[in-house]
Every structure is written in structure tokens, then in C-alpha cells.
């Protein structure tokens, strides 16, 4: 199972849990699982087109432009972070 780090902004949904182990082969599946355990998680992280604007997912140490399609291996860490950069 992947270890998902819950952003502080949505820890109210997880009763304060900072990390949870979630199964899923892709980021999308991970978020689905999160949403089942903590209803509302998907709507806080995603809109109809994918991850919310300005939000990225890091799987392991890599920020992926695949977003929800990014594959996640067992034991990998998943972080939801603001996109790094600025400029446009």
C-alpha cells in the first residue's frame, strides 16, 4: 500500500490523521480510496478535469505531470503539494 500524506488543509476530514496507508495502482485510485474512507477528500483535491489548479502530486520524489494517471507502487509516498514555480 502507498503511504499518503494528508495535507493539513484537509486533515479535518481524516480526524487529524497526518498519514494513511491506501491501496491503489494510480493516483486516481488512491484518491478514490481516500474518498471512500474520508468522504469529501476527492472534492477537496480534484475538479472535473483532474487535480485542482495549482496542485501537484509527488509520488516518491518525483512531481509528475501525469497527475491522476501517475502509477503508484507499493510503499511509495504520495504527497499533494502546491505547484512549484511562478512566472505565468
Amino acid at each position: 500500500m502507498a503511504r499518503v500524506f494528508i495535507p493539513p488543509a484537509i486533515r479535518s476530514l481524516t480526524a487529524g490523521l497526518q498519514e494513511v496507508d491506501v491501496s491503489g495502482a494510480t493516483v486516481s485510485e488512491i484518491i478514490d480510496q481516500l474518498d471512500q474512507r474520508f468522504p469529501g477528500a476527492r472534492s477537496r483535491l480534484c475538479d472535473a478535469d483532474g487535480l485542482n489548479p495549482g496542485l501537484i502530486v509527488m509520488v516518491g520524489n518525483s512531481a509528475s505531470s501525469l497527475g491522476l494517471l501517475q502509477r503508484v507502487a507499493d510503499d511509495e509516498e504520495v504527497h499533494f503539494l502546491p505547484s512549484i514555480g511562478g512566472g505565468v
Binding site: 500524506f5 495535507p7 493539513p8 488543509a9 484537509i10 497526518q18 472534492s43 477537496r44 483535491l45 475538479d47 487535480l51 485542482n52 489548479p53 495549482g54 496542485l55 509527488m58 520524489n61 518525483s62 512531481a63 509528475s64 505531470s65 501525469l66 509516498e77 504527497h79 499533494f80 503539494l81 502546491p82 505547484s83 512549484i84 514555480g85 511562478g86 512566472g87 505565468v88
Partner: protein, 764 residues
């Protein structure tokens, strides 16, 4: 200084003459303002005289009637964007904001905000016509300070802005009403209360930093030619031709493939030449006039209407044990976004404690709109401001604990396996090694004598980006390789990329001919930014070289009538059975007889860099009569992973330091009560010159990045992070005053000296 035994390289680590050097020093290189086309006409912009006002009406009749005027455009000529958010490669944008920043719609949000543009037969006619445009404004109160803008009673700039967290509405934001607080960020690690309870000393301070411009010498420019078939060609100075194409296409709602962007040489960018300002306007003017149109900013427009780095307010607190171990860190950061949301506040939050292994931390940040130009990236955006706060407090803790400043940093340095406050874990990084390099340096080991002199050190962190690059390598019959890449060459990357191709192929750097292509000439490349080109485009280059190698092996096998597996590549030669050997150049000469052209391709996508660190040491002398701070000696140690071309690495390190010195001591946007910038010339906005800085001594530390085949780590950004804090710490050692506001200009230092002498209070 290298942390491992480096492989034996033939090209990497040498210092060949840069490939674009001759054209640059002889004036042959073409910049945006050099563009000349048959029938070219010139354009000028009308800009807002108000910092905040409603636009009641715009009357362009008289301007259009002026002889020689070919076209006039306003926001009415730009498509409505609705509430679209578009991913533009390195981050995205709310298109209505981007559009309104290019040409204001209902409101102007800063003095200098573009309102209309005129194209005419000469620049003089265009400027005259601009004066004939009648705009009826209803001035509104302006807000220029981040903390003022956060107050409930502050004038609100954008009616569509609500506070967001994680890209969605903040459920805790309360009443659904417009606000200047566009985004809130929160990061937590461990148990903050426990962390501060474990501390023997806790220091909490407030800091402010001023709005600062990148100060590139070349102004923004764009020349556009609208073609009869509905396509457009744009010549411009930019850090990313592909993002200019995408932004222009999205703003004008035309197909991106109809927009061809030709990147000209760039006279500095530092993050400020990513957003579009002129390109869509020149395109509209060209479409309307039927002529190619050139639009070039003057210096005042560059200052007042492009994207400086934000003014900030930061409150930070760090606790440590008497044994010198940091136990907790807490920070509150509020960054001015300028007119529209989008300051680098998230980066500031994620960088502020990045140098250290801190078990318990909390960081809270706010992106706040104010009546200033929309901020933009500037070398490690957001990190310099944050480092000023964190590294000043670290120094104060060292003083309170009587700890050597380098020793304290070594004891707490983030290393491989350290979990950042924002969550991810560092892979192999060189923070510790940069501190060790400074500690061992001649500078740090030499005594500093004399009155009113002091020495300070500080460290800095920047993520470094990977993003996406693509290159094409074309083998030539004479054994040279034409390298076609799409990364704007700001810091010598033509050569650092050519060297990686040469190393991989076993040829000399001079045998590679790099060219920065236009958007029709190479695959997608994200911007030159995030210190990513030598790293990420470098990975693509190595892939392209390997692609050529593979094809050459097949050609040799054909030549020798043997299996491909019986042939191998060895140091610029192809070796086969029966003692067959052919050089790279010889086989290139037989290319057409063995199967035709050889084209290598390489793509890099989303390979993460493992982070850049630097530690700086500075000696200053403070004039107690004037408050002027003189830099006596400056040494920078920085982890470059593997320095491909050490001269360019040193150049980036020195350039970053000099900009950081300007930020520390002089540079600031000076606004009057009406929100008008009063120092929008290089005469009054004082960047450092050679008279202000000594030769910056460089110590290249090499902790190879495991994610790059040669261990490259981006070097362009992190050198700007430590200077303000290092200088503030040196000033404290010199005169006993803690400077907490940038710039530490003579009046501000003088005031601090007087305050200290009158009240015995060491804060400024």
C-alpha cells in the same frame, strides 16, 4: 571539492569557449529590438496613471484619426476568457487575469497597467497618438502593503477572488465575498508544542522585504507579423518560446500551431521573461494593421508593468537546545502577489526551513493582492525572502548559545533522508558539504580586523525543477553534430548541453553546433527556469547522443557485414570484429552510403532534481556616520552536483550573489501615497555595479545528483538566497544591530544605529 571520486571525463569539467561567444562579443547576435522586417511599423502603449481605478470609457477616435496611425487596440479586441484556468507548462493561469494584465478591462490595478496600444508608421507618431486616447477613470483607493491588504476594510482589487487552499475554496474562509487574500497554504510536521517545549532558547522575529525587480538589462520586446493565412510569427525575448506560443494562443483563442515563436537572444530574464505582456498586443496590432509590428518597453514600463518579486512580511520562530540542536520552527509568511493572484508564497513556505532537519514545524502562508504589478518569478522565487528570516534567526540563536555559526549549521543540516516540513524526503543533497566548505575556506579561517567590521554566514535552499525538454541531434557528414534545442540560452546552456552531447559521443565540444530553435523546429520545451536546463535538457541531450550511438553501431554492422551485437562504441570510435575500427567522424562521412541521415532524438519528462544548497560568507564594514555598508570580501560555496563548465557555474554563483547584494542593500520599489513608483529608472533604482562588490570567491562543491547521468545539479537560482541574511548577520557583528527589514540601505542602517545608541535596543 568533490564528495566522491569523479569519473574520468574528457569534456565535462573543461572550459571551452562558448559556442555563441563570438557573435555576442562582436555584436552580431540578434536581440528582439534588432528585428527588422519589410514594412515594419512601431507601436506604443498607453498605461494607467492610477494605481487603482475603474475604467469608465476609452475613446480612441482621435488617435485613430492621426495620420500615420495604422491600428489601435484595447481590451475590447481581446476575447473574453470567462473563468478558464489553463495549464501553461510551468504552472497555470486564470486566463481572465492574464488577459486583463495584458490589456486592462474594467479596472486598472496598478500604475503603469496597460490600457491601449497604437501602431503607427513611426514610434513618434505612435507616442503622439497614445496621448490622444481619452480614458475616463474613476479613481479608487489603493492598497500597497501586504498586511494592509489583508485587513477586512482594505480596498479589494478583484471581485472574483476568494481565498483558496489546495486549489479549491477554503472552507474556513467564512463569508463568500471578494478578498485580496487569494490563497492560503499550511504545512505541518510533528508536534510543534512539544518541539518548542524541548528548546532551551527560542527566538521569534518579524521581517519585511521590499518589492525588487530582476533588473535585466534588455527591456521586454515583441515583433509580430500576422500572415494572410491567419497564422502569426512572433520574434521576442523570452525564457520560453513554447509558453509564449501557448499563452498568446490561449489569450487570443487561436490554435497554438498557428503561432510560431522565434526566440531571439535574451538580455537577461531571471524569471521575469516568462509571462507575456507585449506578444498578444503586437499580434493584435499586426492583425488589425496588416503590417508587422514591433513593440518595445522603455525602462519605466519594465519597472512599473512587468513582474518584480514580491514585498513580504514574515514572522518566524525557531527553538533550539543548548547543545545546538533545532527542535522546532514556526513561520507565518504573507507575500504580495501584485494585481492578480500568483506570488511565490508556496515556494517561500516550502523553502523557509529547507536547509535544516527540523522535527517539529508549522508554516502558514498567504498570497495577497495589492496595487502593484503582478509579481513574477525571480531566481529561486520566494526563497530569498524566507532565507532572510530563517537565517537571521539561526544566527541570533548561535549568538545566544555562543555557537560557531558554521558548526551549528553542520549540526542541523538537512541531509539525504531528511523529511522536509512540506512532506517529501530529500535524496542525496549537499547542504552539509557547502557549510563544511565554507568552514574550511581561507575566508572563514582568516581573522577579520578593524572597527565596524563584521562577518556573517547564511545558507539557502532551492528545489530545482525538472519539467520537460526535447532535443534533436543531426549528424553531419564532416563528423560534427548539429544540436537543435528549445531552451533559451541565458547562462551558457548552449555550451553546457553541447558538452554533454560531446562527452557521451566521445567527441570534442567544438564538434557540436548548438542552435536554439523556434517552436516549429523542435519538440516541446518548458521554460528556461527552475535551474533546469543543464539538468533536464541535458538528460534529453544524453538520450539523443545514445540514439546516435545506436544508429552508428547499426551502420558499422552494415559496413562490416556483421551482427549489430558484434559492434560496440568506445570513446568516439566504433569497434567491430576482426579488429575493425572506424572513428565517429569517418563513419559520419559514410552516413549517406550506409542508410541515409542519422537523427538522434532525446526527451526528458518529469525527472526530479534533488535540490540545491549554498552557504555564503561575507565580511562588511559599516560607516557609522552614513550607515553605508561596504562589502569587503564574499565567498560562496555551492553544490553544483557535477560542474559541466566550471566557468559558467562560477558565473551563475557570482551573478546570483551580486543580485542578492543589491536586494540586501539598495533595491526597492519606492512608492508614493498615490501608488506611483518614484524610482523607475536605473538612476534611482540602484542595482550593484562593479564599484559595490569585490571579486566574489567561489567554491564549487560537487555532490552528484543521482537523477542525472553525469550528476548535474542546477546552479542558477540558489546563489541569490543567502546574501541578505549573510549580510544582515555580518552587520550585526559589525555594529551590534539586528537588521530585519530589506533593503538595509544607508538611511535604514543609520536609523538603526541611532536607535541603538539612544535606546540600547538592537533591533531595526
Amino acid at each position: 571539492m568533490s564528495t566522491i571520486e569523479k569519473p574520468t571525463y574528457k569534456v565535462i569539467g573543461t572550459r571551452p569557449v562558448r559556442h555563441d561567444g563570438a557573435d555576442k562579443v562582436t555584436g552580431v547576435a540578434k536581440y528582439g529590438a534588432d528585428v527588422s522586417l519589410t514594412g515594419l511599423i512601431q507601436a506604443a502603449m498607453l498605461r494607467s496613471p492610477h494605481a487603482h481605478a475603474l475604467i469608465k470609457s476609452i475613446d480612441t477616435t482621435a488617435a485613430e484619426a492621426l495620420p500615420g496611425v495604422r491600428a489601435v487596440v484595447t481590451s475590447a479586441d481581446m476575447p473574453e476568457q470567462g473563468d478558464r484556468y489553463v495549464d501553461l507548462g510551468e504552472g497555470g493561469a486564470i486566463m481572465s487575469h492574464l488577459s486583463s494584465n495584458v490589456l486592462a478591462r474594467e479596472k486598472v490595478l496598478y500604475k503603469g497597467h496597460a490600457v491601449a496600444a497604437v501602431a503607427a508608421d513611426s514610434i513618434h507618431i505612435a507616442r503622439e497618438a497614445v496621448k490622444l486616447i481619452k480614458v475616463r477613470y474613476e479613481p479608487l483607493p489603493a492598497v500597497l502593503d501586504v498586511r494592509e491588504a489583508m485587513r477586512d476594510e482594505a480596498p479589494v482589487l478583484n471581485d472574483d477572488v476568494r481565498t483558496q487552499m489546495l486549489g479549491a475554496a477554503d472552507p474556513d474562509a467564512g463569508e463568500n465575498k471578494p478578498t485580496n487574500v487569494a490563497k492560503k497554504f499550511l504545512f505541518e510536521k510533528g508536534d510543534l508544542e512539544q518541539g518548542f517545549a524541548e528548546a532551551d532558547v527560542v527566538v521569534e522575529r518579524e521581517f519585511t522585504t521590499a518589492t525588487v525587480h530582476q533588473g535585466y538589462i534588455e527591456p521586454h520586446n515583441a515583433t509580430a507579423q500576422w500572415h494572410a493565412d491567419g497564422k502569426v510569427t512572433i520574434w521576442t525575448s523570452t525564457q520560453g518560446a513554447f509558453t509564449v506560443r501557448q499563452q498568446t494562443a490561449e489569450l487570443l483563442m487561436i490554435p497554438a500551431s498557428d503561432v510560431k515563436v522565434i526566440p531571439m537572444e535574451i538580455g537577461g530574464g531571471f524569471g521575469g521573461k516568462i509571462a507575456v505582456y507585449l506578444q498578444p498586443v503586437a499580434t493584435l496590432l499586426s492583425r488589425k494593421s496588416g503590417k508587422p509590428v514591433k513593440l518595445v518597453m522603455d525602462r519605466a514600463a519594465v519597472f512599473e508593468a512587468t513582474g518584480p518579486t514580491p514585498g513580504t512580511y514574515i514572522r518566524a520562530k525557531i527553538g533550539a537546545t543548548k547543545e545546538g540542536k533545532i527542535t522546532a520552527g514556526e513561520a507565518y509568511l504573507a507575500y504580495e502577489a501584485g494585481a492578480y493572484p500568483g506570488s511565490p508564497i508556496s515556494c517561500g513556505c516550502m523553502c523557509i526551513f529547507g536547509c535544516y532537519d527540523i522535527p517539529h514545524a508549522r508554516v502558514e502562508g498567504y498570497d495577497v493582492c495589492v496595487n502593484k504589478p503582478r509579481t513574477n518569478a525571480y531566481r529561486a522565487p520566494g526563497s530569498t525572502n524566507a532565507a532572510f528570516a530563517a537565517e537571521t534567526i539561526v544566527d541570533e540563536i548561535c549568538c545566544q548559545l555562543n555557537f560557531d555559526a558554521a558548526e551549528f549549521r553542520l549540526k542541523n543540516a538537512a541531509q539525504e533522508g531528511t523529511r522536509r516540513v512540506d512532506g517529501p524526503v530529500f535524496s542525496r543533497i549537499g547542504m552539509y558539504e557547502t557549510v563544511a566548505a565554507i568552514q574550511a575556506s581561507d575566508h572563514y579561517q582568516s581573522p577579520l580586523e578593524g572597527s565596524h567590521r563584521g562577518r556573517g554566514i547564511a545558507s539557502g535552499f532551492w528545489f530545482n525543477a525538472g519539467l520537460r525538454s526535447a532535443v534533436t541531434a543531426l549528424l553531419n557528414l564532416d563528423g560534427t553534430v548539429s544540436l537543435i534545442e528549445g531552451s533559451t540560452d541565458i547562462g551558457g546552456t548552449r555550451t553546457s548541453l553541447a558538452m554533454q552531447l560531446a562527452e557521451t559521443l566521445g567527441i570534442s565540444a567544438e564538434r557540436v553546433k548548438p542552435t536554439v530553435a523556434d517552436t516549429d523546429g523542435v519538440g516541446w520545451n518548458d521554460v528556461t527556469g527552475g535551474s533546469r536546463v543543464t539538468f533536464a535538457t541535458g538528460i534529453a541531450v544524453v538520450e539523443a547522443a545514445k540514439d546516435i550511438q545506436r544508429q552508428l553501431l547499426q551502420r558499422a554492422a552494415t559496413l562490416w557485414s556483421c551482427d549489430r551485437e558484434a559492434v560496440h562504441y568506445e570513446d568516439g570510435k566504433i569497434v567491430g570484429p576482426d579488429q575493425n575500427v572506424i572513428t565517429f567522424a569517418e563513419l559520419a562521412g559514410k552516413m549517406l552510403q550506409t542508410g541515409g541521415a542519422i537523427v538522434g532524438q532525446g526527451v526528458c519528462s518529469d525527472v526530479a532534481q534533488s535540490g540545491a544548497f549554498g552557504t555564503h560568507c561575507v565580511d562588511v564594514e559599516v560607516d557609522p556616520e552614513t550607515g553605508k555598508v561596504q562589502i569587503l570580501r564574499y565567498t560562496i560555496a555551492q553544490d553544483a552536483g557535477t560542474a559541466i563548465h566550471p566557468s559558467y557555474v562560477e558565473g551563475q554563483m557570482q551573478g546570483g550573489v551580486v543580485q542578492g547584494i543589491g536586494w540586501a542593500l539598495n533595491e526597492e520599489y519606492w512608492y508614493d501615497d498615490q501608488g506611483e513608483m518614484r524610482n523607475s529608472t536605473f538612476l534611482d533604482y540602484r542595482i550593484p555595479t562593479c564599484y559595490d562588490v569585490p571579486m566574489i570567491e567561489t567554491l564549487i562543491v560537487e555532490v552528484p545528483d543521482p537523477n542525472h547521468p553525469y550528476g548535474v545539479r542546477g546552479v542558477g537560482e540558489v546563489p541569490i538566497c543567502p546574501p541578505p541574511a549573510a549580510i544582515a548577520n555580518a552587520i550585526y557583528q559589525a555594529i551590534g544591530v539586528r537588521m530585519q527589514h530589506l533593503p538595509m540601505s544607508p538611511p535604514r542602517v543609520m536609523a538603526a544605529i541611532l536607535k541603538l545608541s539612544s535606546a540600547g535596543n538592537g533591533e531595526a
